[in-house]
Symmetry: C2
DNA sequence: GCTTGACCTTGCCACCATGGCAAGGTTCAT
DNA sequence: ATGAACCTTGCCATGGTGGCAAGGTCAAGC
């Protein structure tokens, strides 16, 4: 859905009245930054924005909607790649919810393994820290462990 | 402790006998890769390695020990910066264990907030996925949520 | 002593998602 | 017409790692 290029000099004021937005405004409305929006465009996550005669990007409320979708997907920790897939599923009326669910479950599994990894680091370190005097003396089970000495 | 530069042609064989190691061997023994070891040297985490006449890096068993320390600290998720501090504490006989403990506890807190963040992503996504049919139909609460529609 | 293959050297680019800065152009209200 | 606020592109940086390329060195076998 390519917008007709806006040509008049008062294009932006006019555009605003009609519900068009600058990249800064689109950023505010979507919870992203202008930088991210340009980046997503370069990744072809979103179509190239229409431009004013002065080469400013122009966004519609439909675009804002897409940007919010991306912002929300990022907040779930999906990668750009996964978000690309999610966007195409979203746009595809004939998608099977199974595909979405599978992608989500794969991501949940990824999150789970990251969580488990961090938790095991946390547990091991907390265990060492618990036995550290934490005073003026130099002996420290944390350093001892890092140095490869047997515990105790 | 600068090693005298080894000059003879049979330097490496000789070095090996005396307990000196090439970067590849040091990598194997420490659980790192040659690339990482060079990187750590460039970060000044470890002192510049002695070189053979042919410019090969040479490591002693003390160096291997340090490299293992780094490898282990990485496995706890410490950043390079933090590892720099840990190394200097390790080397400092007059350190206070309090400093080590404080660093560890700060890192535990960092891990905790990352864990919490991932868990909240996980919980929200799992909640949506649970209500997704996951069949051939297109309706999907996951996409609906990303699209900003009210739940249900 | 020469060849060979394994290893080493440096240097650059890529990842991932983002931020920062610079130099310049546009918009729009005053 | 001026000026503030915004936009443009482009490059570099982050952090920690991997990959590749072009070249040099090592050690062993002949």
């Amino acid at each position: 859905m390519v917008m007709p290029a806006v040509k008049s000099r008062a294009e932006f004021a006019e555009a605003k009245e009609r519900g068009f937005y600058s990249i800064g405004r689109a950023a505010e409305l979507s919870g992203l930054t202008p930088k991210m929006i340009r980046h997503y465009e370069s990744l072809e996550l979103i179509p190239k924005a229409t431009r004013t005669a002065g080469d400013y990007r122009v966004y519609t409320s439909a675009d804002i909607h897409t940007l919010r979708f991306i912002q929300r997907a990022r907040s779930f920790g999906f990668s750009m790649d996964e978000i690309g897939t999610l966007l195409s599923l979203w746009r595809n009326q004939r998608r099977a919810s199974e595909q979405v669910k599978r992608l989500a479950q794969k991501h949940i599994a990824d999150l789970d393994s990251k969580i488990a990894e961090l938790q095991s680091m946390r547990a091991a370190l907390a265990d060492l820290a618990e036995h550290c005097h934490g005073d003026a003396r130099p002996d420290c089970p944390i350093l001892a462990d890092l140095a490869g000495l047997p515990p105790q």
